[in-house]
């Protein structure tokens, strides 16, 4: 059986953790330039910026590295009227992209979630082996894992073994 999926680490990108109360989400959307997603696991995107809702009051914002200071400035401007917490977590995580027809099956080797129900364009925080990760389904056959830096060798090791097993048809 031919195996046509790839696992690669992505170049560094800007990441923010945004937390705020529900009544302030309108102001946050204004500062960001587009609407924050309203239900958990939904994403919203505009240009290079995208937002994923992780919890009732928690969002992860991704952008280009160069955009970070502009985002920080626009959120700082609204802080007095809409209290929130915006933390730069860009170097906390490394992103791994898994793409190809076997991507979903490859992830099921270590992820306990039912990935078939995760629609494309949605993302969740979950567990991969014993590591907490943020898993986004960018497209039907393309996933992104955001893994804390120190766990990357472990996760990559597991994925490499899984890829090797898939390649020999195990």
């Amino acid at each position: 059986m031919a195996f046509n999926s790839t696992v690669e680490t992505l170049p560094q990108m800007g990441r923010f953790s945004l937390r705020c109360k529900r009544e302030n989400t309108v102001a946050m959307s204004k500062a960001l330039g587009f609407e924050l997603p309203s239900s958990i696991s939904e994403t919203a995107q505009s240009g290079n910026r995208s937002v994923l809702k992780l919890g009732p009051d928690e969002w992860m914002l991704t952008c280009l590295m160069e955009e970070r200071s502009a985002i920080e400035r626009s959120f700082a401007a609204i802080y007095p009227d809409a209290v929130h917490s915006l933390t730069d977590i860009s170097s906390r995580e490394v992103s791994i992209r898994i793409s190809g027809p076997e991507a979903e099956e490859l992830l099921t080797t270590s992820c306990p979630r039912d990935l078939a129900v995760l629609k494309s364009g949605r993302g969740v925080r979950t567990i991969f082996d014993s590591v907490q990760v943020i898993l986004t389904r960018e497209d039907n056959n393309q996933f992104r894992l955001d893994v804390w830096r120190s766990f990357v060798p472990h996760v990559m090791g597991l994925l490499t073994v899984a890829v090797a097993e898939f390649e020999c048809g195990l």
Partner: protein, 105 residues
Amino acid sequence: MLLIHCPYCKEKLPELEFEYAGQAHIARPDNPAEQTDAEWRDYLFIRSNVRGDHAEQWRHSHGCGRYFNALRNTVSDKFIATYEIGQACPTSHAEGEENNEQLES
């Protein structure tokens, strides 16, 4: 593996994403300094040890990160209901007598 319904994510998710966090609906004393030693001991350490339906706290630690309450049967390990913090505990026999099937024997 158990599947637990998270009331915040509104999804049934694998147990591995969750953490048990003790008995639910414990009245926390407003002013600990006014408590007698016995009352304080009871608050800190004395918990019910139910054989049957038990209201308990869980945390969706590898997910939305929220604490919620759950009603679980400690014998069959079946989750009868999960509900958001602040809501009243649903009656334990809502789902019929099936809950205690293993208690009978």
